[in-house]
Point group: C2
Amino acid sequence: MVDQNSSPVGVADLRPTEEAIGTARSARRASPDAPLLAAVRGETPSRRPMWMMRQAGRSLPEYREIRKDVGMLDSCFRPDLLAEITLQPVRRHDADAAILFSDIVVPLKAAGVGVDIVAGRGPVLESPVRTADAVEALPVVDPSQLEAVVEGIGGILDELRDDQVLIGFAGAPFTLASYLIEGGPSKNHGVTKAMMYSQPQLWHALMDKLAPTVVRFLQVQIEAGADAVQLFDSWAGFLSLRDYREFVAPYSQKIIEAVRPYDVPVIHFGVNTGELLGEMAAVGPDVIGIDWKTPLDVAAQRVTASLTAAHEAGDLRVSAERRVRAIQGNLDPAILLAGPEVIGEQVRRVCREADRAVAAGDARGHIFNLGHGVLPETDPDAITRAFAEMHGQ
Amino acid sequence: MVDQNSSPVGVADLRPTEEAIGTARSARRASPDAPLLAAVRGETPSRRPMWMMRQAGRSLPEYREIRKDVGMLDSCFRPDLLAEITLQPVRRHDADAAILFSDIVVPLKAAGVGVDIVAGRGPVLESPVRTADAVEALPVVDPSQLEAVVEGIGGILDELRDDQVLIGFAGAPFTLASYLIEGGPSKNHGVTKAMMYSQPQLWHALMDKLAPTVVRFLQVQIEAGADAVQLFDSWAGFLSLRDYREFVAPYSQKIIEAVRPYDVPVIHFGVNTGELLGEMAAVGPDVIGIDWKTPLDVAAQRVTASLTAAHEAGDLRVSAERRVRAIQGNLDPAILLAGPEVIGEQVRRVCREADRAVAAGDARGHIFNLGHGVLPETDPDAITRAFAEMHGQ
């Protein structure tokens, strides 16, 4: 760790070499016609692609069984479990994408940060990061520390069909910063925001330190063969647009830029981000995930309006041709508790709203998903029905 | 309770008599020129009125002292404590309004529902309300069960200056329903939404049962002398606009209509309601509270646009002259943790945004508040400074 800290790593240093891009390209095995990839490109997919956030996890009895005697973070570092847990929902529900089973704090844990996931609570830090010294001491993850993830991905790719994609996963730096500063899950992110407002230099130093860890975590997954990645900013919705723009967006943008040369779709999502959608699109993802509070057509229109205004105002992040992208979402996870009839109706409603967005030119395509993660108490058969209902349309 | 259940109470039966309206009028003692009342009427107040949600409570050492040996709900039913706790922040911070110290479940507890507030968790029900029988058995509060609140209000009014108003308080029926159905605080309101979607008749029966309790709780406070009331729909922001409109808005509207004849301002607030603001305004409050995520000028403009569209589409809830109302908010509570300089800057920013809303004709006036409740860990001196900063402008 000491060596890494003595030579700070910037995101700019992390743009992939031609060799790394080649490695990633040859590791990927999904067909270019896989429905998810086709939808992102704006082509007509063979069927509308569908996956669910947290599809791997507590809703499945086979997951609860396999995790019985294994801690959450331990399971993220055991290649056999990682692969098995990632694949369980894909087999059971015939999903169009596997989402790498992981946790937002995995790259921090890999780097040597003292963090564990406490059942019923979430990630808890041994000591919160609130001073310049603590930020300075924070390690940047080294790819060699993520070999278990690489091996796990190998196991996943062995089993996926070539019309199914593997989506890699990373927490965005605001959400990571909040865990580090608060020392655990927070209801209101008060200490995090107080640092942001009253010690902006310290805040920016922390974000500068975290961004390379996020980039490396994504790069490792892409070079191991991930076909797409999702950058989760779970807590970004606690911020106003003004604060998101100043304190968060530049880092998410740098991260997305650093993985752009691999040419794999980047999905960006946070819950409660209705006010932020335009800015989250401006940081450069290919796909915007929408929570269940904003209908997909309304959300896509809002994104187009915001990007158009930014482009016309000379915002260099937004080029004319990047105005339209795919949308992902947005069935309320609670719908899955409401019985087959309601599930059917609401799945059809979401598809209609997405189709309107595409017809209006506000999105190239639609990836069906929930508007947030699967609730742990969800009956797995209800999930399977939702997949079947959607694919049967 | 049995008698009440055998003759169901509808909200329509609860419109106040002329006598009740007279009682309320003679109980009120705030001057018509009190800044908060002037701001709602669109006059220029002697100073910009300011209070904070949760100003009474855990941020104050005198509150922690007085609550040392008294349970939360017990304190809401002890007139002396109720008055003292309500007045503590008004004295300390020179607030322009006292907010009645209470809890969303107080009228349920008064009616005999088995509920207690568990420290660190929140309201917990003895048995959740999930069946037609349980809804049928749910009592409607009787004014006689709220005498402690009436007596407490008497104590508050004795001490308030006549330029200070007392704001009464009630939880809106969606939030109450969620506690009843889930059996306690919920992260995602899954069981609540599942009932809403799959058993709409049962849902509507529950809301019909809850609305009269909310009305009576507000009426009791107004007839005891409250100068204004705030209807909190804390969890409404978990709903999409479509669901809010169908399952919630009609009840909030009926409640507001039932207290309208008293001619006291009604404030309506929920957090994470950026997508719902227009509809929350359409149910008829005089003042809309805005959380910290939407700048006040943007929020007010959104409300005007939504009400105008509804009026033009023939929405009978919205009359032409009700297009402009006061706005309340919206400093991020976390700002109070960030030191005096940041507090000063951000207080001034919120005032500027409110002034723009008023100048644009989107609001009659501004009531300064936070965008959510005071965080328990807030230094009371920081709160006092924020009041002084705002009033000093």
